[in-house]
């Protein structure tokens, strides 16, 4: 179960949600954490706590004006990859705003292939070498320096393990430091931790 990617669905049609859910579960590679039929405040707060690897959303749950904003609204809620469901009433320019799209008419194998493609392509924010660490990266670096495992960091910060791993890759890319021991020294030299907290 651990290796499966967690997915949340925001799909108004129960028929579509159940169909999509069973295709994903049958693939053995995805696990549907929860299905929301709308993008309400309640759904928002559930998503915030869950932070799934991926959200599949049917843009029609958003009213016409906010469809374009849908991707950004989700960005505020969680770090997940967001995939749009392409169906009647969804236009090309809306789809482009998401990390990927799948069609109602995709074959199951194409569907899972597209989802994997989006996961591989869109790591939270893949950064180039050098550059300052973001606040989130510093937070994760401190946890790493204290000897916490990815799972523990994920639980503490309410992130998916997948997101933690990506942040760690970015920390290494920015600092040029790979090992936990080296990162600990980096954190000390930059006053992110002090010796006593180790």
């Amino acid at each position: 179960m651990e290796n499966r990617k967690s997915v949340a669905l925001i799909v108004p049609s129960d028929i579509v949600a159940r169909g999509l859910g069973s295709i994903l579960e049958e693939s053995g590679e995805f696990h549907v954490e929860e299905v929301f039929h709308d993008f309400s405040k309640a759904a928002e707060s559930r998503l915030r706590g869950m932070d799934p690897d991926m959200v599949v959303i049917d843009p029609v749950v958003l009213d016409f004006k906010s469809r374009r904003e849908g991707r950004n609204m989700l960005l505020d809620v969680c770090d997940s990859i967001v995939i749009a469901l392409d169906g009647p009433g969804v236009t090309e320019d809306v789809l482009k705003l998401y990390d990927g799209s799948v069609s109602l008419y995709d074959r199951p194998s194409d569907l899972t292939r597209k989802l994997h493609g989006a996961l591989d392509a869109k790591q939270p924010e893949v950064v180039s070498d050098g550059g300052e660490l973001s606040a989130r990266e510093k937070e994760i670096l401190v946890c790493v320096a204290k000897g916490m495992l990815n799972k523990e960091i994920a639980d503490k910060l309410n992130l998916s393990i997948y997101t933690v791993i990506t942040h760690r890759k970015n920390i290494t890319r920015k600092t040029g430091i790979k090992t936990v021991a080296g990162l600990t020294v980096y954190a000390l030299l930059n006053n992110l931790i002090d010796m006593n907290s180790l």
Partner: protein, 229 residues
């Protein structure tokens, strides 16, 4: 520049082309007093297998040099082990302790917390490396010797070595980046460069060393294992 050394070349000319070869030549037991000889003459003088010596010098000097299957099959295993043992002795006896004392002077002006943290990182790295070499000296080399004497131990094979042969590169690379980019301003810049040069030279030497282990020793010993069966 030629991209390969041959036995008719003088050792002094080879050293001119790549002065870090002095280390290799000395680890193989050839003193600098013989530098006026050709590589072939020096090998005969010291009882070394010429082909193996050339193989190691070429691998050490030219990263793009890929040894042929024939060279690997013909390599003299005791001479490879002699080189590897010599390298281990150099790393543990000289390179690491020199680096450690340079590190100590470099970190002299730092506050206690930082000094302790960086020193600990270095000391941990050093003891990992020493442990890594000790495993080779205590398990792998005796196994190879037994194999050559015709007593193939049942409970070990070179596959086990290959499988557990971990990279020793990462921490040293981290150390290089820490010294280059993240040390406090109060560290002496000259000393800092000197430490970096030592780290680079150790890194390059270790990489060639690992290459000899993984790409020459392992296949040569595997040949020996298979021929014995």
């Amino acid at each position: 520049m030629k991209d390969i050394f041959t036995p008719d070349m003088r050792l002094s000319d080879m050293i001119d082309m790549n002065y870090s070869l002095m280390q290799v030549i000395s680890r193989m037991g050839i003193g600098l007093g013989l530098a006026g000889m050709t590589a072939g003459e020096a090998c005969r003088h010291c009882g070394l297998d010429e082909r193996t010596f050339m193989l190691i010098c070429n691998v050490y000097s030219f990263p793009e040099y890929v040894p042929s299957q024939a060279d690997i099959s013909a390599a003299n295993i005791p001479d490879i082990v002699r080189y590897l043992r010599g390298s281990h002795a150099y790393y543990t006896g000289k390179a690491l302790s020199n680096l450690e004392s340079s590190f100590n002077s470099l970190l002299e002006p730092c506050d206690v917390g930082r000094k302790t943290a960086i020193t600990k990182f270095f000391v941990d790295y050093k003891s990992e490396l020493v442990k890594h070499f000790a495993r080779e000296e205590d398990e792998v080399f005796p196994y190879i010797e037994a194999l050559q004497n015709g007593n193939k131990p049942e409970d070990y094979s070179i596959d086990q070595f290959e499988e557990h042969h971990e990279s020793v590169d990462e921490k040293l690379e981290d150390m290089k980046n820490i010294v280059m980019k993240y040390l406090p301003e109060e560290c002496d810049p000259e000393m800092r460069m000197w430490v970096l040069v030592s780290i680079y030279s150790l890194r390059d030497d270790l990489r060639r060393h690992t290459y000899v282990e993984d790409n020459i020793l392992v296949p040569a010993v595997r040949n020996l294992e298979n021929n014995g069966e």
